[in-house]
Chain length 349, copies 2
DNA sequence: CTGAAAGCGCTTACAG
DNA sequence: CTGAAAGCGCTTACAG
């Protein structure tokens, strides 16, 4: 690989002059600049980032830290959209994206500190669905700009998250508009902040209608379809079962559809089912799942934008909240006239 | 951040001696080493990678290039498994992973050359489902080790791919064992190499049974569920329709299930459906989809391992072929006794 | 064994 | 405007 000295010799200037041209700095005569630019173009010379970084005192690399606790995250195509969003923004700043995954948040946090210490990256975006405090604590060893995609305690770190509250509010209103009055919910334990927000949204919508959530109608899963199936059975086994089930993620909603099918319940005639996330699966289920969509791309892009604001020494106001959108499909419909002994009638397999 | 000079002063040695300790080099007395190591531990000093890279003449960063033509790839959770596999291997070599996506192969190829030219990365793994030649040509501008996950012309570049042939062979044998004799296939146009291989596998299995693929029973989609649905209808509209449909990816298989449902065909009693990939969706469909699983993690890990062999100057024998596995689920069953006017009987909505 | 010097490929003040 | 010198933070021969 040719160095700046080689090219400078070719262009018959000093390396320092070549450097000025390379960086579009003033104090170079028109003619010199033209000649040098021509040589650069002819040779296709690109200065070594390695040397540049040493001088700049930074790496121009943004870390993306992904703990994948319970590998749930990694079955989530959403993440790829987030990456694309981050990359789009990073490219504009001539930053590259470094990927680091880890099994737990603690592993991710220590990987992050190592990357910062050895100055491989200038800072990071952390995708954290659970608790950002391990990161905050570990990062005290080596402070650097970082941004969380997810929920963080106020003032701890800049963050971006989807409008989980608003999405759940819209979905619940949708069911209320369809005449549903008994709403079952499939939540999870432990419950990430995002699900707290979704539950808040549900409660707010119910309150608007003068209703409140029957705590017997809140079942618990672990985000997996199988757990959603079990939870749906629990709900439908109640003496006064719900006419609609709102599963707080799509995968559990898929399980709920399956539970309904095994009981011979028609969707949406006998039971409405709503999910959250709008994963690729959602539109492929039979019937297609009504759900709440969030834009991973915008989450990523916004997170990166905030990161660069921090890097520039600004203190952006966060959390930034990315809108969500109700996508009404075939799995939700008018509430059945009377819910009673309709469930459980058998059907040819 | 403290530099090696700071720490050397603290430990009362020359920077060059500190460097030796840091890199576990000989010719340091036992006592000096002990003292220096203690200071390093106490200060938590980690040498700057930036300076190291300048000297080493390499970046210790491996690029991962992902063209996402038709964004099909990006709805594929598979990709995340590939990343994890690559990262696992890279970590052992103390390499970091740089992510670069691009809309087309050409964009990706030019991004790759730019990354190489500015010595941000030492080489790359390219996920290419279509044609690697644009990469090969562009890379002549700046040769570097690179490995393809996908199919490549022999001798052009080291590559890794799944055993598409074997997977399709196993799936077809499975259907033949169940008594199916008229097999419909949903393929695509244009057809990536992987699908050619899957078709080869189908033909090989049919040949074993003294059969051959009826070309009227090969329909064409574009990998999307909607296209699979259309293609399935075409197949089922034939005068002598198939008793089993092998869609060459899971998303089209999901479409085929939907087509069957809309015609009132029971799965698998009236029609068997088999997919390929085993995406998360597959086990959630009703009935769960019989399909062929490939391990993204192993693909990634193997690709990285081959990359490092290249980096070490070896010439690994490739393509490496990662096994696939038939996953028999509920969507495939014994062939119906006689296929004739069974299709199309209506059903309560 | 230990340390002073040179150098990796650039950029940044600073003279001329 | 132009270029010689110093320096970013390390490592690598090379003396001592």
């Amino acid at each position: 690989m040719p160095t700046i000295d080689d090219i400078a010799r070719l262009a018959q200037v000093a390396p320092s002059t070549l450097s000025k041209v390379l960086n579009h700095r003033p104090h170079v005569s028109r003619e010199t600049r033209a000649r040098v630019e021509q040589v650069i173009a002819a040779t296709g010379f690109v200065p070594s980032q390695r040397a540049r970084r040493l001088i700049a005192g930074r790496s121009f690399i943004l870390g993306l830290l992904i703990p994948y606790t319970s590998d749930q995250l990694f079955t989530d195509p959403h993440l790829l959209e987030i990456m694309r969003g981050i990359e789009a923004e990073a490219n504009e700043r001539e930053y590259n994206l470094l990927l680091s995954t880890a099994r737990t948040s603690l592993d991710a946090a220590s990987a992050l500190v190592r990357l910062l210490r050895s100055d491989v990256i200038d800072g990071a975006i952390v995708v954290e669905t659970h608790d950002v405090r391990p990161f905050a604590e570990t990062l005290q060893q080596r402070p650097a700009p970082w941004v969380v995609i997810g929920y963080a305690p106020p003032g701890m770190v800049p963050s971006v998250h989807a409008d989980d509250f608003g999405g759940a509010l819209a979905a619940t209103r949708h069911l209320l508009d369809l005449g549903h009055r008994r709403l079952g919910v499939i939540s999870s334990l432990p419950r990430p902040f995002a699900l707290d927000e979704r539950l808040r949204g549900i409660n707010a919508a119910l309150a608007e209608a003068g209703l409140r959530l029957d705590e017997h109608l809140v079942a618990t899963g672990d985000f997996s379809p199988a757990s959603g199936e079990r939870a749906a059975h629990c709900l439908l086994d109640q003496p006064d079962p719900p006419t609609a089930i709102f599963a707080l993620n799509d995968r559990m909603a898929a399980g709920a559809l399956r539970a309904a099918a095994s009981r011979g319940l028609r969707i949406p005639e006998d039971l409405s089912v709503v999910g959250f996330d709008d994963i690729a699966l959602a539109s492929l289920l039979l019937p297609p799942l009504t759900t709440v969509r969030q834009s991973g791309y915008r989450l990523g892009r916004t997170a990166a934008s905030i990161f660069f604001q921090c890097l520039d020494g600004q203190a952006p106001e966060t959390p930034a909240i990315i809108p969500t959108e109700l996508v009404a499909r075939g799995s939700s419909g008018p509430a059945p006239p009377r819910r009673c002994a309709e469930r459980g009638f058998p059907r040819a397999p």
